[in-house]
Symmetry: C2
């Protein structure tokens, strides 16, 4: 019954057809980039379509018939919506250092956009693999059937592998070295790619996920707050860290400045996960676009379980405050990043 419903859902999806890019490329303009109090909703309204549009043409070789299926599976998950927080964090971190203030987003973000998209490719890979039957076994993601439900487990695994590896190629091929700010331009790009690689490895996403699986095997009482923090530092914060660090590096930041931005990202990464745990037990599946209440159902250690709902809310606020503290050396030019920190704990999905 469950499978039948899912199959029907999959067939009814507009995204379940092979994607072709629009023939006339759209243009994207910022209405305001200099206001002293940063208007995040307006920024997101203008930037998200630019990111979505860029994502929709980032995979090459779509005209080769033999790659139709895998490319379709990659696009299916890549274009399934989502908050695009990692690309946005990368672009806002770039803004903190870059002197570019052009209203045309294609010009303004010419340098960091490839890295921003690579981050989303990596993030999408992690979602596809996390949802697999042998992992979290999730049928729904962002309100749509998960990749393996639509394309099968084998194709989903390979689509994830392909998104991961293509992200590195894409980042290198589509970042104009001479447009990078600061000295040692090619070395800056190598630094970005190296950090992208590290963020998914055994001390990044994948390491955090394995530790998470190990803790899931234990009664929740045996998993402490330090274990939980380690898991989320690697599973969630690692990619946000490289998002902010890479934007800064490409924008011409010094090593010390990169470290500060990275520390900011680590704090909001943890806050993001605390907010996720809060949402899992306070929001509906419809609001979340994925199965709600799952943590409770599988007796999973969460911040809410360890600290209580109020305690978790306080923890999220504390982390957000600490994050903003990392930006204390900057004035209103860092308001974009500060707004992202607030957005992360006040979001409803």
């Amino acid at each position: 019954m469950k499978l039948a419903v899912i199959t029907l859902l999959a067939l009814a999806l507009p995204g379940n057809s092979f994607f072709f890019p629009p023939t006339t490329p759209p243009t994207f303009h910022l209405s305001s980039t200099t206001s002293s109090t940063f208007d995040l909703p307006t920024y997101l309204k203008e930037t998200t379509p630019f990111i979505e549009s860029s994502l929709s043409t980032c995979l090459e070789y779509q005209s080769i018939p033999q790659t139709k299926k895998i490319t379709e599976a990659m696009y299916y998950s890549l274009l399934a919506g989502g908050k695009r927080i990692r690309p946005v964090a990368c672009l806002l971190s770039y803004d903190l250092f870059s002197k570019k203030n052009n209203k045309d987003l294609k010009v303004k973000y010419e340098t960091p956009i490839a890295t921003a998209l690579s981050l989303e490719m990596i993030h999408t890979m992690s979602l596809i693999h996390d949802d697999l039957p042998s992992m979290d076994d999730d049928d729904l993601r962002r309100g749509k059937p998960t990749c393996h439900i639509v394309y099968g487990e084998d194709v989903a695994i390979l689509a994830g592998d392909s998104l991961l590896s293509s992200s590195f190629e894409y980042c290198i091929k589509n970042t104009r070295i001479d447009a990078i700010s600061g000295d040692n331009k090619p070395e800056r790009l190598l630094n970005v790619v190296s950090r992208l690689g590290a963020s998914v490895g055994n001390i990044g996403l994948a390491g955090g996920q394995v530790m998470d699986l190990e803790c899931e095997g234990k009664p929740s009482g045996e998993v402490g707050i330090e274990d939980l923090r380690w898991i989320h530092l690697h599973k969630t914060a690692a990619l946000l860290k490289v998002a902010c660090a890479s934007g800064a590096i490409l924008g011409g930041a010094s090593e010390e400045e990169v470290e500060k931005v990275e520390m900011f990202a680590e704090k909001i990464g943890l806050a993001f996960q605390v907010a996720d745990d809060i949402l899992d037990c306070t929001a509906s599946s419809e609001e979340l676009g994925k199965t709600a209440g799952k943590d409770e159902a599988v007796d999973k250690a969460t911040y809410v379980r360890l600290l209580g709902l109020e305690g978790a809310k306080e923890e999220a606020q504390r982390l957000t405050d600490e994050a903003k503290e990392c930006l204390s050396g900057w004035g209103e030019e860092a308001d974009g990043l500060r707004a992202i920190a607030d957005f992360i704990i006040s979001r409803s999905n």
Copy 2:
């Protein structure tokens, strides 16, 4: 019963304990690097331990307790033996251009060894994921239980993801830019990493594998020689191509020279697969270190099935001759690569 045997095998494995690097690093010397007829067996006997030893310490952060399990799973598959053909092809391709002729392999291969190891990490990832139940469902690889049999499907998927992403980080962090030959040194490294990424994407390994899965679903009569060639060009030849191309790029080759070496690799990549198909129906499981006769059992389209055993042997020879033809502009300095071409079709496992 099958599971019980496999579990016993897994427990009996010396590799099934957490790996610690040797405290005193061994030294590696070539006995002969200047003979006019290249002695591949001696070269492999001297180079393989150097590659194995370098692989055994390539994964960082092994002392962090939280990453113990995933790092162990990564090492389990990475150090499970194998011919190490991709690293060897990279090093021999480097030799064709580099002027370094030091007998100490650590000095001689200081520049390309990180890329050579990255290639093996990527190759190992592809084996781990190929062996999964939802893919080829193989219990044995290189005579040992496969990664998911020992560590579970979830950890195996993540160990593969981690090997893939870590390979890019490793390559960048461990290649000394100033030791690269030729002009535009950092751009050469970016070129290598970009090619590594492309080799696994939808027009590389993963694309070839999805097409392979699609063809497996059809009766073998419906899969033609061109389909088979496309699959193997991407599933097998893509990584050998980047192995040879990256060795050449780091050794200072021109674009035109890189293309010739790449064409050579494409031919030996296809020959490698033809030889694999021949071995699948002529060698025993013991000789192969994996289940023999599997292609026949699952009615899979192979070169042997499409061309007959003799026809497949002729095809392998033709591809090897064409490969050597690509090197016709070089003298005995290319004998190392020529020897690899011969080795590929004469191997017994």
